[in-house]
Symmetry: C2
Subunit: 161 residues, 2 copies
């Protein structure tokens, strides 16, 4: 394995660890994976359908909220692509999500729902390994250009910039 | 202006130039703004509701398609936040979009439609200036956590990773 490939493997591990932490509702594990230091205030996350959350504190608060309101969530990652350039790494992937909300809630998340989300994740290399700087997830339209798009995702959005 | 602030201003200019090019349907201007070189094959773009497009060629083809099918599009950028770290720059912003499709088409894009999209854009510094490496745009839900969300966007998506 060339050094570059080994590095890409480490980035993919960090990416998988990120989803594992959310899957296990492990906020502590997530805390360790999200970038700290000078760029902490620039950490940015977009959950599907949400506005931009900026800054480590706001991002972590959103995950605490999501974890508290998600009874069950499972990610099957496909189309994982990794690019490493210096101290920056880009990962794009498809999140095949199976999720369910608390049974006692009246919302539509009570039963299990399948969903298809695409994600752009950017990691930064630190002395402690690769850390998440940017995460942007968005729902894929069922009638989009990809015929494999999930059937359970009900959403809109127009092609634009 | 400190060097860091000056650099952030240049990044913001590149970000604005990107939207201006799409607004003017200027594919040549867009060609110049999208990263070339060793990372060209890792350029990735997600249009709202689309799967990931990867590689400069596929990305440019999608913009040619969008431009051909968009009679009118206008972006008002708000919440523009820039972070620069070495040769990488992160921009997050809200795209307040006014758009319309060709009048002769039967699709629902015939009349002007307002939309709210949030974008994560990553730029790389090159000898010729800042160039777009990553763009991810996604629709914002009207009933999301942000009360100012657009009223015309009709979409779904659940909070997840």
């Amino acid at each position: 394995m060339t050094p570059r490939t080994a590095e890409a493997a480490r980035v993919e591990e960090a990416n998988q660890a990120f989803y594992d932490a959310v899957e296990r509702s492990d906020l502590d594990a997530l805390e360790e994976l999200v970038l700290t230091g000078p760029l902490a205030e620039t950490v940015s996350v977009v959950h599907p359908g949400w506005p931009v959350l900026r800054g480590r504190r706001e991002v972590m608060r959103s995950y605490a909220l999501i974890m508290a309101n998600t009874e069950y969530i499972q990610f099957f990652l496909t189309d994982v692509e990794v690019a490493v350039d210096g101290d920056t790494a880009l990962v794009t992937c498809t999140e095949n999500i199976l999720t369910g909300g608390p049974a006692e809630e009246e919302g539509e998340m009570g039963s299990l729902v399948g969903g298809l989300v695409v994600a752009t994740n950017v990691f930064r290399r630190t002395s402690e390994g690769w850390r998440l700087w940017v995460h942007h997830g968005s729902p894929v339209m069922a009638d989009g250009v990809d015929e494999d798009a999930a059937e359970d995702v009900d959403n809109g959005g127009e092609g634009s910039a």
